[in-house]
Every structure is written in structure tokens, then in C-alpha cells.
Symmetry: C2
Subunit: 201 residues, 2 copies
């Protein structure tokens, strides 16, 4: 298998962490792929019509996307340890959705402040996305005592959120308001899957 | 159960169709909820920190989000007919992801052209999102012969895409380029679950 990723992308990072946590990383070639919302990568468009990463290129020539689908697919291929089944499934999927939603708001903010021409920026939009990030972080902090010692898909999402905020929005200084998340993330950084995938430009 | 929805939202429509297709609609009260990316609804924020609909309010006081999680939860509660298991699961989840991605691009375009102040609009952004919509529609058209007679989560997503484009972007005129989708959607419109949830402002 091959997977189109980008070292800066938090959604690609979810997949890269899952590949490592499931032991599948050696069977998956990571292809660094440049993406832009305004200059679509034509090679990527041939694999994923939404022109987004991550995109998993299967050996039969088909492609899987988006990050949620790829993560669940890889986990199932490895025996299904990271996605809970039964009643535990719903809090885990909600936690993943919470993290994906924080990341959506953060990535949209990044496009607004770093890609969009300065004259076209809209402060109310930035403020609206910031409310989602802040509210999402508070909910993540409340959920943290339930994380336990496990590192399932929800916790993987949380690691990608906190790492992305450190990478692109250090001024948010989430550690100051969320000491539980700070302590949890410090422990998580010891995992090779997390350390190996630290975001970079 | 109660669910916060909005008659214009294509993501809420996924949930509303699933509620009807699973026979659970009578047990779920739909609460019409106003949302805006720049004027967050505080009541909604109390249920979903991302301040988005749909949000499913469970009887135990917890909330489930986003649309994918709610749809799978409702389907599981009803016996699991709309989400495939085994090898058929991955094409179905990819089809849902394709439709969600087209909808993300369409909703972002809607915000850009109908909510953002005119002086702050950015044509390259609109063009980039339009490429995702057009590429996504072509992929949907290619996938259509595989839809068969079933109406699972992927087909439900497709109905929400086509209905939303009719509602907000009639000028895209997707029927002109995708006659297979045109014929399929004409049949799908006969379903009460689809007819009952026609988007309105």
C-alpha cells in the first residue's frame, strides 16, 4: 500500500500514527504530497477527486479516503484494536469527531491567516472558528480523565490536535488553560508513533 | 431522543433521512436550530462544543456528533442495515466520504458567496472549492452504476449532495453533465425519506 500524506497535515498524521500503532507502517509507503486549496495537485486529483490528503492507494488500484475511513480500514486489517465495538464505540467516535472538528476549524483558520490575501481576511470568521477551537479544547479537557491508559482512535485524534496547535498556533497556549491535557500530551509524546510524526513544514 | 437540525443543512439531512429509513423517526424529535459560522448559537454550543448541527441529544444527557457518528449510531440501534460490514464496508464509507467532501466544498462556497462580506471574497478559493465539487460529481457519476437498488449510507449522502446543489447552486446544472445521476436522483425522489426532507431556507 501507498499513502499520500504531508508532514504538516494533522489529518494525514492520524493515518501515519495508526499505521505505526497497528504495526502496518512497514507495509505502507508514505508519499509526501504538496497540497493547496487554490492550486490543486493534479496527480493527487487522479487518486482523490476531493484533492485532499490523506489518500490510501490500495494495491488493486482503488483509493480510500478520508482520514476516518483510512484509519478504520487499517485498524480492521490489523485486527481492530483502535476502533471500539459495542457501546464503547460511540464515545470513541464522538471523541474522534470532536478532534476532527477542532482540526477543521484550525485548518480553516490557517488558510484564512496564512494563505488568503490579507485584504480578503474576515475577522468575524476567524473569531467564529476560534470559538470552535476553544470550546473543543474545553470538551477535550473534560473528556481526558476518561482516556485511561489506552491510545485508541479518539486519543490519536487528540494527539494530532494538540500537536497541530503547537505547530501552527503556539499563541493559543492551550497548556495554560488545560493542565490535564498538558500532562497527558507529555506522556503521549513518549510513543514512537507520535514522536516519529511530529508536524513539520 | 432529540436531534438538533436545520431544514437547509445537508449534513442534518443525512441524519433525518437515516431516521426515516431506519423507522426511528417517530422516536426522534427534530429541533429546528439556527446556525451561523460567525454568530454561534449558545444553546447549541452547550450540546456540541463545535457549535454545529446535526447534534443528537441522547436520553442520558450526552450528545453525539457529527453526522457520520449519528447516522451509524441510529443505524446500529435499528439493526445495522445502512452501514455495510465486511469488504463492502470500505466502498460504502468511501462513498459517504466523497459526498461529505463535496458538501464541505459546497457549504464553504456558500459561506464565501452568501455570508462573507463582498469585499472579502476570494475568487481563487471559490474556484478551488468548485474543482472539488466538479471532480466529486464526476466520481459520483462513475460510482453510480454500482449503487444498485440499495439505499445505504453512501447513496443517502449522494441524495443529500444532489439535493443541496439543486437548493443552493442550481447554476451548476449537474444534470446536464451527469445524466446517470439525473436518472438515479429522479427515482430516489420517490422515497418518502427523501421527499420529506427537501431542503428549505
Amino acid at each position: 500500500m501507498r499513502v499520500r500524506v504531508n508532514a504538516a497535515s494533522p489529518f494525514a498524521r492520524k493515518v501515519r500514527i495508526v499505521a505505526r500503532e497497528t504495526g502496518l507502517a512497514e507495509r505502507i509507503e508514505e508519499i509526501e504530497t504538496t497540497v493547496s486549496p487554490i492550486a490543486p495537485n493534479k496527480e493527487l486529483a487522479g487518486a482523490n477527486p476531493l484533492v485532499k490528503i490523506p489518500a490510501l492507494l490500495l494495491d488493486d488500484g482503488t483509493t480510500l479516503y478520508d482520514s476516518r475511513v483510512i484509519c478504520e480500514y487499517l485498524d480492521a486489517a490489523a485486527g481492530g484494536r483502535l476502533f471500539s465495538q459495542g457501546e464503547a464505540r460511540w464515545p470513541a467516535l464522538r471523541l474522534q469527531a470532536l478532534c476532527d472538528g477542532i482540526l477543521d476549524a484550525a485548518v480553516l483558520t490557517r488558510y484564512e491567516v496564512a494563505v488568503r490575501p490579507e485584504a480578503s481576511r474576515w475577522n468575524e470568521w476567524i473569531a467564529g472558528q476560534r470559538l470552535k477551537i476553544d470550546g473543543g479544547l474545553s470538551a477535550l479537557d473534560e473528556a481526558q480523565p476518561g482516556f485511561g491508559a489506552s491510545f485508541g482512535i479518539g486519543q490519536i485524534g487528540a494527539a494530532c490536535v494538540l500537536g497541530y496547535l503547537d505547530f501552527r498556533f503556539p499563541e493559543i497556549d492551550w497548556r495554560a488553560r488545560h493542565p490535564r491535557l498538558k500532562d497527558w500530551f507529555a506522556q503521549v509524546l513518549a510513543r514512537p508513533s507520535v514522536r516519529d510524526t511530529t508536524p513539520r513544514a
